[in-house]
Amino acid sequence: MNLTVVLFAMLAAVTAASAVGVAASRSVVRAAVWLLFTLIGVAGVYFLLGAEFLGAAQLIVYVGGTMVLMVFGVMITNQGPFAVLRTKPVEWAVGGVLAGGLFVLLATASLNFVSSGKTPDDPLPGISPIGLSFLGVEDGGKSYLLPFEVVSVHLLVVLVAAAYLARAKRRVNQVASGKEQGTNKEDTRQEQGVTP
């Protein structure tokens, strides 16, 4: 029994167990936290396969960024009708069929998988091939820079729009009730005689 098998068994057990936890737990917060451990387990599998960059990116983006916000949001909104999830029998059936189909698909794919002939003793690929092909230096001059920039600008637009929507809502309230309450920052400043 070598190290790779032991580590894979541990990571797979953690991932699978926490995935079951996501589906089985009734509390939203618990489900979110189990999802966190699933993502960490998947990142561990990436590291095990030598895809260090993918593993680190998964940890930073999903685990360190997205999941923090999700857990954060779930904790604040963990009140009222959404605190406890009750799955209906129909939902169990649909989910079960989908999960079963995906499992069959993945099992077939992995059984038909042809090994690329690399062994664990081969030197690990670094991150420089990723960067070079990203900039179009390798891979026949096919650059991925433009699509990447388009996607990131798109994300920025979404962020700005979200911030604008959040602000606009407050402005409506301000017109309606802000003047009377005087809780608004500018109002308070003017009352105190502080020039902004």
Binding site: L3, V33, I40, I60, V63, G64, L69, T188, V194, P196
Partner: protein
């Protein structure tokens, strides 16, 4: 791939624990001694000479005390939180250099060279690298800096889990503050390092040290980036002046409120280990790691050379740890809106401008010292801007202050009377 055997693994684990545990113990003692020094007291001086055995007594107490688990908590996550906190802090220590290092060899050029020569060159560089001594637990990790940041961003989960599972409002408030704080300060933290990466051309921490050995320390060229990095790291570690998550005057103890005994000890261990890791990181990324103006090369004996390099690195790290302690007992705590304002209105714009300056210097191949001038200039400009166009000190109360009618003596809560 590095050869693996169980014995080495056990020795490494035992070694890490044996080094980290006493260091953390004596850091807590140093913390109390420094606080005593700042406040003109004596500090702990009863256990052993000068109180030097105090950490031992504290550790023993952690083990022997009862570990209370309140009835209302979420048991699994309540017990998981300290373990997560400690484990992540210890794992992050694995990729940070603590002694002399050798960067992994560059790829071998294959164009226009005979295949046999390529193979020979590859074997030579790899063989030389395999023989060299590396003061890192996991040497040659290509994504070194990224892994450190990834693990650093996980550290918030210990706090979040602990705060939520404790099931009381002070703990929850503490953990909410913590997540907002850590998410905000991760941005300037990451951006301040990007400037360094643009120069060194590698994410590998050993490679960054090598660049500084050849060209000079990064703190000379990018002092502003170092300042931003240091402030962000203080916020990530929940240290004063950023210790809002456990502000004891407001939140009892924040996420630590319900913890006692060894669970509390594990949180503390994680926190102090994080301090050690980030101090090592500051040394390695900005202060040249084990290099000291070529002095370390005077020692030609390989064993003594390694010892000297390790000592240089540890001394620099010790200085930053001392700075951590000193800052804690010098600067008072921020208010939460000041904390957020500092991150979003000051540090992120500054780090963006600094990054722009780095790109310009790289693009037009200007001297590195130009960047130093820009760095200092940006810092001064920010100060001038704040004085000229700012709204004055940011400590004015946000709401209108109303004087409350004081109750007559002998009535009311009687706080002053009793």
């Amino acid at each position: 791939m590095i050869a693996f055997d169980w014995l080495t693994l056990l020795i490494v684990i035992a070694g890490v624990i044996a080094v980290v545990m006493p260091t953390v113990g004596y850091l807590t003692l140093a913390e109390r001694k420094v606080s005593a020094w700042v406040q003109d007291r004596l500090g702990p001086n009863r256990v052993g000479p000068f109180g030097l055995l105090q950490p031992l007594a504290d550790g023993g107490k952690f083990f022997l005390k009862e570990a209370p688990i309140p009835r209302h908590v979420d048991k699994i996550f309540f017990l998981l939180a300290p373990a997560v906190s400690m484990a992540i802090a210890l794992v992050a220590l694995a990729v940070v250099p603590w002694g002399g290092t050798q960067p992994p060899p560059d790829p071998v050029a294959t164009q226009g060279v005979e295949p046999a020569a390529v193979v020979q060159q590859y074997a030579d560089t790899q063989g030389g690298y395999a023989k060299s001594f590396n003061g890192v637990i996991v040497p040659g990790l290509d994504v070194g800096v990224l892994v450190v940041f990834a693990l650093g961003s996980l550290a918030v989960y210990g706090v979040i889990l602990g705060g939520w599972s404790s099931d009381n409002k002070y703990s929850l408030l503490g953990s909410l503050r913590s997540s907002a704080q850590i998410i905000s300060y991760e941005i300037p933290l990451g951006m301040s390092v990007v400037g360094v990466l643009l120069f060194s051309g590698t994410l590998n921490l050993e490679g960054i040290i090598q660049w500084q050995k050849q060209h000079g320390w990064f703190v000379l060229f990018q002092p502003l980036a170092f300042l931003l990095f240091m402030v962000s790291v203080y916020a990530e570690c929940n240290r004063l002046p950023f210790d809002l998550p456990e502000a004891e005057q407001e939140l009892v103890g924040g996420y630590l409120t319900e913890y006692g005994s060894l669970n509390f000890g594990m949180f503390m261990l994680g926190e102090y280990t994080h301090m050690i890791t980030t101090s090592l990181l500051m040394t390695v990324v900005f202060w040249g790691g084990w290099s000291l103006f070529g002095l370390e090369d005077r020692v030609t004996d390989p064993i003594w050379g390694a010892v000297v390099k390790c000592l240089i690195l540890v001394t620099k790290t010790g200085f930053f740890l001392f700075l951590y302690l000193l800052v804690r007992w010098t600067i008072p705590r921020f208010r939460f809106d000041q904390l957020m304002g500092l991150a979003w209105k000051v540090m992120i714009p500054l780090s963006l401008l600094h990054l722009l300056a780095v790109m310009l210097v790289r693009q037009y191949s200007l001297s590195n010292w130009v960047l130093t001038a820009i760095s200092v200039g940006l810092f001064l400009a920010a100060g001038v801007y704040a004085v000229a166009f700012g709204t004055g000190p940011n400590n004015a109360p946000r709401r209108r202050v109303i004087s409350s009618p004081s109750p007559p003596v002998g009535e009311g809560l009687g706080v002053r009377g009793s």
